[in-house]
Symmetry: C2
Subunit: 461 residues, 2 copies
Amino acid sequence: MGSSTVISISDGDNQRVAGPDDDQEMKKKFQFSLLPIFSYLRSSGQKNRLQVSCVPPIISDLREKTNKQDMRKLIHSFKVGIALVLVSFLYLLDPLFSQVGENAMWAIMTVVVIFEFFAGATLSKGLNRGIGTILGGGLGCLAAALAQEVGGIGNAIVVGASVFIFAAVATYVRQVPNIKKRYDYGAMIFILTFSLVVVSGIRAEKVMRLARERLSTIGMGFVTCIFISLLVFPVWASDELHDSIASNFEHLAHSIEGCLEEYINATTFTNEKENQPIANFNRCKSILNSKSKDESLANFAKWEPWHGKFGLYYPWIKYLQIGEHLRELAATILSLKGCLQSPRQPPTAQRERIKEPCEAVGSILTWSLRELGESISKMRKCHAGTSIVPKLKSTRAEISSVSTNCKVDHQDIDHEYQDGGLAMATFVFILMEIVEKVEELAKEVDELGELAGFRSHHELA
Amino acid sequence: MGSSTVISISDGDNQRVAGPDDDQEMKKKFQFSLLPIFSYLRSSGQKNRLQVSCVPPIISDLREKTNKQDMRKLIHSFKVGIALVLVSFLYLLDPLFSQVGENAMWAIMTVVVIFEFFAGATLSKGLNRGIGTILGGGLGCLAAALAQEVGGIGNAIVVGASVFIFAAVATYVRQVPNIKKRYDYGAMIFILTFSLVVVSGIRAEKVMRLARERLSTIGMGFVTCIFISLLVFPVWASDELHDSIASNFEHLAHSIEGCLEEYINATTFTNEKENQPIANFNRCKSILNSKSKDESLANFAKWEPWHGKFGLYYPWIKYLQIGEHLRELAATILSLKGCLQSPRQPPTAQRERIKEPCEAVGSILTWSLRELGESISKMRKCHAGTSIVPKLKSTRAEISSVSTNCKVDHQDIDHEYQDGGLAMATFVFILMEIVEKVEELAKEVDELGELAGFRSHHELA
């Protein structure tokens, strides 16, 4: 659990990072919600055997994850410090300084600028910087040579014109969304290097030597970063994305559980109502806002070399599609909020009538979501087409029976009752939609299993 | 219209930028949707007089906006080119070069790195760079002096240790979400300057002079950027946020219109159904994903100096709150999707029964949203508390009458009909929620009017 809102992604300013407050909030939430969940488990018997094993580890898991996140940040800070000290040796040690001279500065600059939290981000920025420098330096040398050919006042004019043209064109290109997403930094470095090389070409006789020396120190900074980022306690964006998607299944299952529980038992704790639903929906909301985080993680993951369980051509795009489905599901669960928080509630007697089938639907839904999440997390095929989907389909029959029970009698023409009936019908309808969306998710997870080559149960045995 | 998905924000990688494709898509969408809208307008008479004047300008408005966006990007590219040529003069002109020497490089670097699309973003990056440089440089000088006091091998040890400690601490601080949001770049520049100054202090005798010279060239780059960014065709993030929030009201009104139209007339064009709803919902989805864009725009807007209609302490935070409400409303409208695309549809006869009241509710809703959007856009008070809210409240009575009509007769025990009834009940319930959310929005807009000092009608006259 816990990883979806916990790490702040370098590109997304809108990510929250778990801190002591979150931990407190979590504890409060679980104190509130454990009681009804346990009573629910007891009342609904063997159907929920999976939930019994799932609820207690959530708390310890969350605390563990929060500590792990803090630890990772601390380690990242140490790594940056070490990398900077290493490149500082270019200045500090006389034999090295006599080789590189003042250009050692570029190594330090490179380390500060490209060292990012995730290995993939560091690699992406480093390669962007490398390519931008080489392209900009090469073209800059050509332009500088051309300007020197012209000579005299024409020299300055050629330099000024080439700076203007290349900077304007590259800036325009930077604003194209697809280039912005992956090569923004490279384009910036291109403009920088081109301008620097072409204008200093006017003064420095040996512009080629200058370019070569700078490039070599940039290379030293790059190698230092990559070495430390990839080999010393590496933090992989691919692991982060994988775990975050897998744990979102658990979060949604937990939300559905909470919703159903609350809706059915609403009459017993109306006073605590304001405290209750928000906790469940916060997770859903953070999943709803996870699009930019997922996209940048996938972008970094693509840059990461083969490591651990992920090959070079791992289908990250499928993770994004599953993420999209999860967001839709989260939005649907959030629209249950309208029913839960609506002042128009059906009377208890009416609720009682839909209690049993709702519990059954809920337990199938949460079981399915947890199976799917576990399938991703453990990278084993879940064969959803033959195991989960049929169960979900049969669930629809149960919902139909619910829909018979939730009708309001025509005698209750009193408005309040009628609105309560509407709320209940909406609740049931949204439940149907949730079942459909989980079915779609099951198919997506099956496809991911095929594409990513998840192993079957018997291969694992 | 059009501005919510059109501009790519420098910090958010997930923004789409309008291009020729969008324009095509828009045209297609309007070809599809104009017919039913006009027939709707004709059928529902004088209630919709506001819509008649609103629909045709949408198309021309959108095309105009798209061109305007392209134009702005082009102008931005030119501005970057000009700024770079200006700072290149430090190299190109002999009298200037004799003053600054090789440090002219820092001016070029500053321009490339801090020149952003929005004036506020440029200012924020520039100030961050300035503060980071001064702090890092100052502390770096102190550390370098301390290291020179120690002398000998201890010198190198002090330098290495101080680089490690400051870099690690600053990197850890950078990861705190609130600092990351506003001062990430400043912290990076702090690490960079500190390391450069402290390590070159070992070699350069006159570290103070070096620091002063670099700072002065960075200052020149900064002034050039600010001058061009703020005075030559400035692009204000505050304008962008203001227009985007105001136009989102219109987008949501348009979506509601489209939904109601489609739901009521679904039977008449079932074949085109696949093409129809997506267009309406895309706008809602882009509003739903606008959180990070809004936040970074508000962040930049806060840095922007007094200009045009916005004062220094303009309540940008209120815009973010309104944005949050708009996103919730968009999510609710999206959940109508479930009803529209559900295979379980009520029979036409049933739809007919709710046609009239739905149209009435829809026209009040769209009128309210457009009034609110216009109030923000023209910065005049709309007195929603006395004009819009009462109308919305009376609308609830109309919805109650709808809810009476949408009940399924108990004789229709056939499942298909029953599910259709559920879909219809859900549709009506969600409509109720939309009315409530628009009421909340009206209150928020009233509050914004108070905080931002919008003028009243009679002041404008």
